[in-house]
Symmetry: D2
Subunit: 298 residues, 4 copies
């Protein structure tokens, strides 16, 4: 299949490479010439602009962009993808943006007879390279089935979350819970250790009790508890604090629009904000435990 | 073995019955004559007071009391268990109290040559009746091994958490995390559903993603998601809101004494407090989701 | 002077009338024909669109719009005020919007050689009618002095807050503090009364101690403490809960962009959100005390 | 009058001196021999113990102790003040403790026919030395009138807050509001300055708008805004962070007992806790603004 790909950043570039590996023909665009050149070397064709890419004979376009402003900029307007692309070409946006923006862009695409899916991912740069991402997909069941083989070249777990925008809803809801759970584990572990518990013993108890959660049993923030967690390698790698901060911003904004309170979510956002403002935005988000550990503040 | 048992409430009574079933001789005390009479009918002997019970030839005493004030009242002072019991008799307090009070009582027991364990439980009244409680035990390894067969008659999972007080630390840390996680799930589920997700689909995504936790995959607060959860039977049974409120009070008090902040824990406590003040203290704690669901407030 | 006025809502209409009373010639625009007709009856001339208004010989334009989206829609773009108005005409936006949007629009105006001020107000519809508003003004000192006589026809307190955008910063900072203080007073009054204090006596003590604040001594949320406060007339009139909610949304969004935590502000926003979701969005914001008063929840 | 005084710390010692200056005969007790010696040098008589002091011919006893545990220890029990003092002698406790403990001790005193008042103070060590303290007094109107002349020797503002315990309620409610307001000002000032406002200009606007409060107009936490505030002398002197932390602990505990939520109060407590844990417990509580100021964290 001839596929267009926009956005060749840390996530987009390895995703695009996996489409090449799967045998697809690829036309690519990015503002960074170096990023484009690297993909061209791997076999892709460069397009001069999103509009130029849209005017090729691509059958499907995937985008992976930083935020809603870029997604709207690329898709909407007279020079945008939607205005320029042939009706019928499927559009898949894998950026993480707020659900209402996703629904707005999808409505514009449909008005132009382009099927569209929102398909944000989880799994990080590691999952992008290994082709093991999870795709949370919003759109019609028919469009989902059509896109599934393409997504399967980039990910392992392809989940249909319901109509347009629901891929973003699922992602925002999951990361809201994740951001809260991680701080919950940070508070429980810090308090327990401050009161004299061994961190390994405490984690063992939490993980077999009602406190059990991914943030404790798979990604424990206390150094040394899990050998392979970011906490045991200085909080390098993993999912950055500033990325969690962005996702909690999306969650609280989505909640504001839905007129829903998110008490713990809003407070969690402020805690990651404070931690980032101290210069820790690039550390894995589990480093938030350092807000609590007196020994770690030295 | 001749065992003394103090506190025959919703938890203590079935625990005491399981000791009888295991073949132990039992002397019991409770302020409620009816509670004592029921155990006597099952084969126990009544004692007139804690002091009277302490002066029998019991080899080990288990207590299950509402709060630290009662524990101190029963154990300390001239008429207390410690002053009245023979040196060497093992004391096991299964009440849920703050770790510092537990350590204070244990120190008093040791000064009188009585080994002592703090051994709070989880598993609720169902686990107490079925003999499947989890015991989180603080004390020396030697005392733990001596007590294990007795505890095994009342529970299935007997965990040594470290020195005196650490049973209470483990419980308080777990329930701090549990109280936070449950609200996290409530916020994520409510937000997702308000934005158009099907609750079953959303729970399925959370449970296979990084938001996975006991509060979502085993005890989901959204009605209908899990057939056997309290949410699917009107939030009856289960672990009451006021019990969670009590445990978060212990956690924030323990944190205050340890000079540790617990941001989300303190806010969670206020949310359960507000929900209880609206007349919901007897509902299962997962009913906290009703603070978030507009449809549920009608 | 010939003045243009856009936005004739609850605030804009009485402000426009005060400009007429001061002897200015007025051209007006609003999407509501009824609102325009009422002003025409009072002596104003109707314009068919913002662009049409811009193309008259107005010397100065005032706008009073609901949110940043409307402000950008009216000012920016090919048909916007800035593109259509003569260079040199002064633009004054009295809408309450986020500081970054205000700076963006001002920059566009200056690029077109139009001096521009952001001049949000406080004082409510009462102050708008009486001409006693406070204007918080951002822009150059020279532009501020030029605009002052016009603003003085609509308000009593005209404050220069610094360069462009700072009028919005001042408003957002004040209302952030106001939203927090009001809940602080609600918590202190509710707790004191629940513990047995007479509300009048308690308010008297707060107002002469270090808890003294506008929310307590001028606008006390407890019914009966201040005869003229909204609390003493069923929380009618005043500054609506949904307006406070909007302003706290601006504050938390501005804080996010500035990478500043606002812990209490974010939590206050959630509390007003929860109170609004219960159907109380139209009540004066001091009604938030009903979240705390058990007697008031019946 | 012959007056007994217990507790000669930073507050108690200057208060006792003011009683001497007013011409009263004084018997004093403190665990610190140096503190007692200093008062004896000023004209007081030393007592060997609280009980010994109680058995002199004192007509009235004032106590100024660190916390409820010390108050209960001194007043209650077989060797306590109440058991040892003659019926009719008036007891005045000026310690800051929780209202329920105050009521418990007062009930014990009345059972022994001793009138008792709770009379916590505000005004700090400066007010104690200058005799300008505010006394918030709980007890009967008759006892209040009897005690007023004695209190007037130590303070300027003597306020009757209602029945027993209400002096403590008033203090706890005021300091709850104060702790919240100060953080509100810290958030508003930090946000405004981060967005480009001059701190003096911003403070001027807040102080003439609805954000006006003691924490802004009398005790502004931003350095340089008020020449005489602790913020302008490195946060030395003033009311220490750890004292505010103690008072918020009393407030949240009182709220827990009254089954009242205190959302902002509980979060404020955690923020002072975190700030104290970073080693700032001895700084004036307005230094909490350093949690928000990026420039101040260097």
């Amino acid at each position: 299949m001839h596929i267009g790909f926009l956005g060749l950043g840390n996530m987009g570039a390895p995703m695009a490479r996996n489409l090449l590996k799967a045998g697809h023909r690829l036309s690519v665009f990015d503002l960074s010439e170096a990023a484009v050149a690297a993909l061209v070397e791997a076999g892709a064709t460069a397009a001069a602009s999103p509009a130029a890419l849209a005017r090729t004979d691509v059958e499907l376009i995937v985008s992976m962009l930083p935020a809603a402003a870029q997604v709207k900029g690329v898709y909407l307007g007279a020079d945008g993808l939607i205005a320029q692309v042939r009706p019928g070409v499927m559009l898949i946006d894998s950026s993480t943006i707020d659900p209402l923006s996703a629904r707005e862009v999808t409505a514009a695409a449909r008005a132009h007879d382009n099927p569209m899916l929102d398909a944000p991912v989880s799994g990080g740069t590691g999952g992008a390279a290994a082709g093991t991402l999870t795709f949370m997909v919003g759109g019609t069941a028919e469009d989902f089935e059509r896109a599934r083989p393409v997504l399967a070249a980039m990910g392992r777990n392809i989940v249909h979350c319901g109509p347009a925008g629901n891929g973003q809803v699922a992602k925002v809801a999951n990361n809201l819970l994740l951001g809260i759970s991680m701080i919950g584990v940070a508070e429980a572990m810090s308090l327990g250790v401050a009161l004299g518990m061994d961190p390994q013993v405490l984690a063992g108890i939490l993980n077999t009790s009602s406190g059990r959660c991914w943030s404790s049993d798979t990604y424990n923030p206390f150094p040394g508890v899990l050998e392979n967690a970011p906490a045991s390698r200085g909080y390098s790698g993993g999912f950055g604090t500033d990325l969690m901060l962005k996702d909690l911003g999306l969650a609280s904004e989505a909640a504001r629009q839905a007129r829903q309170p998110v008490f713990l979510g809003a407070l969690a956002q402020q805690l990651y904000q404070a931690f980032s403002a101290q210069g820790n935005g690039a550390l894995d988000f589990s480093a938030i435990i350092n807000l609590y550990r007196k020994d770690a503040q030295a």
